[in-house]
């Protein structure tokens, strides 16, 4: 709990453990093993938080939706509830919950402080063991109530699965509108559940491939606004933009280094080939990492910053290669039929997600970092661009749906594909880190 508390402080929320009597938060049997292929979702009862208005129900609904979409939980219909929780400070009648097979129970209260802040408390109960597993409270600006709900869902997910959650995150993507041969593309940002949609650019220039900085305050992306398409930085809150570097040709396919100090990208050469460069954002020094007469693009760092995975057609067709962060020892790691591109290193470091084209299909897959253990998670006519949830257990990508692209998420198991709601067509999603 201590780490969790620290995390909450760092994002400006106040959290405090709230204990009930002398109940020890025992590591109970109530745990989901999500490393197994098939997971039976855990039945969980999420009661409306006690409140004077509708907010208690709204927060509970966001928590329930997060947990349900993960595929690991099955929120129980509120109509089946027997006990009506009116005082979340006292222990629930566990039998009322076990009899409807609620293995876990969430209760809470939301209220307004004298200074206007929202106060939200919640408890997670193991109904069969009759124990409280978590008790916390948060204070926040009332406009951030959805974020409080996501943080509560993350706490529940982490306690019951043993893995970090990913609900208090955002997605930056390309909002697409208009006909296919005159598509308007804007950068847009939203919460991971599709709420709080906002566009970040006006659509006058083609934009693509937005990626979050590790502190999730900045985006690097490619835009056609200048005399040639190049990589830019955008401060999300201020809207301030700047060109990355002063390169002679097109720059594209940018990503941040894990420490946020560098942007790695491709630079088009005069001969039409493309090589990989980094630019240090403080010193402005640029470093060339590849020098082949081929297309080298889509670079992505390993989470420890020591390695880079990228796409190259130096062997004839596009395949995936890894090299040291200084460009040393490039070696091909994909050897299957077809072509491989857009490799992205997992935030856990163990896997690389990619787009594969074979037999007229586009596939989203993962492989180990040495190229072994390839697994295809999703196949379709036209889909690409995987991005990892910060816990490395879920991927998002975009797929042509007829008329235009939309976003989807899928578990690392290849199960639980979910559409991500967006107001228009959407492509190039990038998942933010959790702030911790």
């Amino acid at each position: 709990m201590k780490n969790t508390l620290t995390a909450f402080f760092s994002i400006g929320l106040m959290a405090a453990g709230i204990a009930l009597a002398a109940v020890q938060p025992a590591r109970a049997q109530l745990e989901i093993d999500i490393t197994q292929g098939v997971v039976e979702p855990m039945p969980i009862a999420i009661t409306d938080f006690v409140s004077s208005g509708s907010q208690g129900g709204e927060i509970a609904a966001v928590v329930a939706a997060d947990l349900k979409r993960s595929g690991l939980f099955k929120p129980i219909d509120k109509g089946a509830f027997i006990e009506k929780v009116s005082n979340p400070d006292v222990a629930p009648r566990f039998n009322d919950w076990t009899v409807i097979n609620a293995q876990a129970l969430v209760t809470g209260r939301v209220s307004q402080e004298a200074d206007g802040r929202l106060r939200a408390e919640f408890r997670l109960w193991d109904t069969f063991a009759g124990q409280q597993l978590i008790g916390e409270q948060f204070f926040a600006n009332p406009t951030n109530w959805r974020r409080v709900a996501h943080i509560i869902a993350d706490a529940i997910y982490e306690r019951l699965t043993g893995e970090k959650g990913y609900f208090d995150t955002r997605i930056v993507y390309v909002d697409e509108s208009g006909p296919k041969n005159g598509r308007v593309k804007r950068l847009a940002i939203m919460d991971q559940d599709g709420a709080n949609q906002r566009t970040l650019t006006d659509g006058r220039s083609i934009v693509m491939t937005p990626r979050f900085s590790p502190n999730r305050q900045e985006i690097t992306y490619m835009s056609y606004e200048g005399s040639q398409p190049q990589v830019y930085l955008l401060q999300i809150e201020t809207g301030q933009r700047e060109l990355v570097g002063n390169f002679p040709g097109m720059t594209f396919a940018p990503r941040f280094s894990p420490d946020g100090q560098k942007v790695i990208m491709s630079l088009m050469r005069e001969d039409g080939n493309s090589n990989i460069y980094t630019m240090d954002l403080r010193s402005r020094n640029t470093t060339r990492l590849t020098n082949s007469n081929s297309i080298d693009t889509s670079p992505s760092y390993s989470p420890d910053g020591s390695r880079i995975v990228f796409t190259s057609d130096r062997g004839g067709r596009p395949h995936i290669y890894t090299m040291g962060a200084d460009g040393s020892n490039p070696q091909r790691i994909s050897f299957g039929d077809g072509t491989y591109s857009t490799p992205v290193w997992s935030p856990r470091g163990d896997l690389i997600a990619f787009t594969k084209q074979t037999a007229g299909e586009f596939q989203i897959g993962v492989m180990r970092t040495d190229g072994s253990g390839e697994r295809i998670l999703s196949s379709g006519r036209l889909q690409e661009g995987p991005t990892w949830a910060p816990n490395g257990r879920v991927l998002m990508f975009f797929r042509e749906t007829g008329g235009g692209p939309k976003l989807f998420s899928i578990d690392l198991t290849g199960r639980n594909e979910q559409p991500i709601p967006t107001p228009n067509f959407a492509s190039d999603p990038a998942w933010s880190p959790l702030l911790d």
């Binding site: 041969n181 083609i206 491939t209 039409g272 493309s274």
Partner: protein, 170 residues
């Protein structure tokens, strides 16, 4: 508590659809001449010599590529040779060569592929005597398709390099 507030910081593509039947399958049958595609809606010969329309209609402003290739095909060489001849006569134009890809490729890779196609077309024009400093290249990857169905005939139309006239009199 003092950080409570901090949480808040928290060119016109010409539709070729009607002409797709003409285009047929990928490969040798693909028309490489804008006039074949009915661009501009004017019959050959109606354009003033030396005009943009003359270039587009009578010379042909675009060439096409094979899948995942930036090799200038024989038919494309003929088109580019005509373009170079015309550009050498009307030296007042600077040009932009736009490289494009079809949708079968990832966005990032196709940007690079479009760049390679534009560079290949530029190099051919330069080899035919067009001054390199008159030519700028840009890649649109698969972001600006002209044909918007999703079969072979569309793909072959979208794998292209288009020579766009600009800066007359510059």
């Amino acid at each position: 508590m003092r950080r409570i507030a901090a949480i808040t910081r928290n060119p016109v593509a010409i539709a070729l659809v009607a002409m797709l039947a003409v285009a047929g399958c990928a490969g040798k049958n693909t028309p490489n001449n804008a006039a074949d595609l009915g661009l501009g809606g004017a019959g050959a010969g109606a354009a003033t010599p030396g005009s943009t329309q003359d270039f587009t209609v009578n010379v042909g402003d675009r060439i096409f590529f094979d899948t995942d290739s930036s090799l200038i095909r024989a038919d494309a060489q003929q088109t580019l040779a005509r373009q170079a001849q015309w550009l050498n006569r009307y030296a007042q134009y600077s040009i932009t060569v736009e490289g494009h890809a079809d949708e079968r490729g990832t966005r990032e890779y196709n940007l690079a592929l479009g760049a390679r196609r534009a560079a290949a077309a530029r190099d051919f024009l330069v080899s035919q005597g067009v001054a390199a400093n008159r030519i700028r290249t840009i890649s649109y990857g698969k972001e600006r398709p002209v044909a918007v169905c999703d079969d072979i005939s569309c793909w072959s139309q979208n794998r292209r390099a288009v020579t766009v006239l600009g800066g007359a009199g510059s």
